[in-house]
């Protein structure tokens, strides 16, 4: 027999620490005491991702969302909500409205997330075109082919305020308009699916979960600018996304939604996939076009912009996956609809891949203007393992870090750039107190140096010089003068590099020096790494008081640096020690410490 109600009690670690366990037990007791145990099932759920308001209790099927519930509230919840069918207003998150009626206009509902780009992701079978069609798929294409002129389509985009989601944030309607206005017998539409930032997987997930949304948008773009051929440039490391795209394209072709004379409109559009070999610089549009043509992926000076002279010298409109995934919704719901979401200069939503030392890592889509704090602490559930938040890196290797005091900054195109970071394509890596900010900067620098194509000197030479300086600091040989030199080189790279890769390479270092200057100083002046990450600056030591001489550490040490007799305190020979940390992990008595 089915239950009448289901009571979900958050069992996430945040809520559990504020007695959600007791709430759970009390609710079960109350159900029995008030005689509804047969009708109600009380269960523990995973984190609701809203720990700030915890402990959280949700009652289905009414979808009543109760926050800051105390164990003593159990009685009232059962007596009022379950037995009398009245919501306990005092505990509701949204005291005025029932939570189920959340609308676009009052977006500030509890989940804080809102899916436009990911509308079908996790909902439909991506390998079944019928499911996409059932959820208004190809409805926008219908409109674009039969009702709207190219000017209308671009007009809707203009109204929507959609800006490129790949990082640069150029208004999409302008790009389309430029390409439309360019003279050419042949024009191309290109989808940039060369997602390269470490920790970024927004585009991959979009293509894996909803490939048709991108295909449909490329056709609409083709109609708007007068192109009949499209290319999707995607990295070969995304085999599942490629497979799903291929399946989607084959199904669309079979239905006549791709190819000649689409739906009898006379409009033709063909699509091909081009695989990239995984070079980061190929995410830069001119390098990407070079790669499609079969050349080495290197940026070209702009102008001429691709809209004028792109693929094989023809006018080309190139958009990022996430940008394209917005298009069908804009055509269906009207540009104005999207423009209502977000902030003054940034409309719509943004998808972020939330990773690092976060409790709930995942794919997050929020309206522009959501703050970093809301994403990290409300949606992400804060830092894993109860550690302290140190910083968040947004924008990948091109972005920078932001610390606690900037967490209330609304995320949009302008907001983060003014703080020396950037929204970027949407990777968001959270760091806790155990992460060394100089070490992180070194990681990103190494990445950028490896990925520099070598064409222009500021990026090629500047990047390597920056890396040398930062390595000097993590080795404990840094001086104050090095910091000045970093600034100098960074400045030269910012103004002299050919493309965004070189221009933004210094960002992780610069933002670290700006917001966590003390940590840099500790490395330079005190020759210490506060987080205990930089190997040359730390030593392992055995506390003779705590060591019982179990020999566990000595047996684990790969270089034989630990000596001592059984049942007597051991010693580490720091001259031989390679600081691998194996002894630290092996000691069960907490006798080994890092300095």
């Amino acid at each position: 027999m089915a239950f009448r109600n289901y009571i979900l009690v958050c069992g996430g670690s945040g809520c559990e620490s504020s007695h959600s366990d007791e709430i759970y037990n009390n609710l079960i007791k109350e159900c029995e005491a008030q005689g509804v145990a047969e009708e109600v099932q009380v269960i523990k759920t995973g984190c609701f991702g809203f720990c700030e308001q915890g402990p959280i209790v949700k009652i289905l099927p009414e979808d009543a969302f109760y926050v800051k519930v105390k164990p003593s509230d159990a009685k009232e919840l059962i007596a009022e909500h379950i037995i009398k069918g009245r919501e306990v207003t005092r505990l509701l998150y949204d005291k005025k409205k029932s939570t189920k009626n959340a609308k676009v206009e009052d977006i500030k509902f509890y989940q804080k997330q809102f899916r436009v780009v990911l509308r079908n992701c996790g909902k439909i079978d991506p390998e079944n075109i019928d499911e996409y069609i059932a959820r208004d798929g190809y409805l926008a294409l219908e409109k674009a082919l039969f009702q709207l002129t190219p000017e209308d389509i671009i007009g809707e985009l203009k109204k929507s305020g959609l800006r490129g989601r790949g990082g640069a944030g150029f208004p999409t309607w302008m790009k389309w308009n430029f390409t439309k206005a360019s003279q050419g017998d042949v024009k191309y539409v290109v989808c940039n699916a060369d997602e390269g930032d470490p920790g970024a997987y927004m585009d991959r997930s979009t293509l894996e979960g909803d490939p048709h949304s991108v295909i449909e948008a490329m056709m609409i773009c083709g109609k708007a600018i007068g192109a009949h051929q499209g290319f999707i440039y995607i990295r070969a490391e995304y085999p599942l996304a490629i497979h799903r795209l291929e399946v989607a394209m084959a199904q669309a072709r079979e239905y006549g939604l791709l190819g000649e004379d689409i739906l009898g409109s006379g409009f033709a559009f063909n699509l091909e996939i081009r695989l990239g070999a995984g070079a980061f610089v190929c995410g830069e549009e001119t390098a990407l076009l070079q790669s499609i043509e079969g050349h080495r992926g290197m940026p070209q000076p702009r102008p001429p912009f691709p809209a004028v002279k792109g693929l094989w010298g023809k006018p080309t409109c190139i958009d990022n996956v996430e940008t394209l995934a917005n298009v069908a919704v804009i055509i269906n719901k009207g540009g104005e609809w999207l423009s209502k979401l977000g902030t003054e200069d940034s409309h719509g939503t943004k998808v972020f891949a939330l990773t690092g030392k976060i409790a709930n890592s995942g794919l997050v889509e929020v309206p522009m203007g959501t703050t970093l704090r809301e994403i990290i602490f409300d949606i992400g559930g804060g830092i894993a393992n109860g550690k302290k938040f140190k910083a968040v890196q947004t924008g990948g290797p091109s972005g920078g870090i932001l610390t606690e005091e900037y967490l209330d900054t609304p995320i949009d195109f302008g907001g983060l750039t003014s703080l020396g970071s950037m929204m970027g394509s949407g990777s968001m890596i959270v760091m806790d107190e155990d992460d060394c900010i100089v070490d992180v900067a070194k990681f990103y620098l190494k990445f950028s140096v490896d990925e520099s194509c070598g064409k222009c000197a500021p990026c090629r030479i500047g990047g390597r010089s920056l890396l040398h300086l930062v390595e000097k600091i993590t080795d404990g040989k840094g001086t104050e003068k090095d910091l000045d030199q970093i600034q100098e080189i960074a400045h030269a790279m910012q103004i002299g590099s050919l493309c965004a890769l070189g221009q933004t390479t210094p960002n992780p270092v610069l933002s670290g020096m700006r917001y966590l200057a003390d940590e840099y100083r500790a490395h330079i002046v005190d020759k210490k790494c506060p987080a205990g990450k930089c190997k040359k600056l730390i030593t392992y030591e055995i506390d003779p008081e705590k060591c019982i001489g179990c020999t566990a550490c000595a047996r684990k040490c790969p270089v034989g640096a630990i000596t001592g007799e059984v049942k007597k305190p051991h010693k580490i020979n720091t001259d031989i020690c390679i600081k691998c940390g194996a002894c630290y992990a092996a000691c069960k008595f907490g006798a080994i410490s890092v300095h």
Binding site: A2, F3, L8, Q41, I43, K44, T45, G46, C47, G49, P61, N101, K103, V104, F109, Q111, Q113, F114, R115, V116, L118, R119, N120, C121, G122, K123, D125, P126, E127, D130, E131, I133, A134, D136, Y138, L139, E142, F146, Y201, R204, S205, T206, E208, G209, D210, Y238, L240, E254, Y255, G256, L257, L263, V329, A359, N360, S361, G362, L363, V364, E365
Partner: protein
């Protein structure tokens, strides 16, 4: 189906939409949706999908449809599975393994009880739902 005209597309959309609605109302079917993005597959979603098919087969349960979908956004608790069936709230289960698959089938699908400790909230609102 071969090449479609505009009429065909509209008809297909309507019929599919009706089919989905019918499933919700009449509710003969139970729908199990396994999150099969890269994140899900890496965490073992394929094993979960296979286990659902095998276990439903073994138990002789026939009115359950098992399909795949992309990333639901809950990457920290992959593999994720959504169970949609009449008379029960739509539920997303996380951290699903072979054992949990069996629990979902016996508790949720057969006895209409939720599986405690594995329920996760939908991460985001659906804009396409008619309000």
């Amino acid at each position: 189906m071969g090449k479609m005209t505009l009429e065909d597309l509209r008809k297909l959309r309507k019929s599919k939409q009706d089919a989905i609605k019918k499933r919700d109302i009449e509710g003969k079917n139970c729908h199990v949706i396994v999150g099969m993005g890269t994140c899900g597959i890496a965490a073992g979603a394929k094993v979960v999908l296979d286990e659902f098919i095998n276990e439903l087969d073994a138990q002789g349960i026939e009115d359950v449809m098992v399909t795949q979908t992309g990333c639901m956004g809950l990457c920290y608790v992959e593999p994720t599975v959504e169970v949609v069936m009449p008379g029960m709230p739509d539920v997303i289960y996380g951290k699903v393994d072979k054992k949990v698959v069996k629990q979902i089938i016996t508790d949720h699908i057969m006895h209409k009880k939720l599986v405690s400790e594995h329920v996760f909230d939908r991460p985001a609102a659906d804009i396409l739902k008619k309000d």
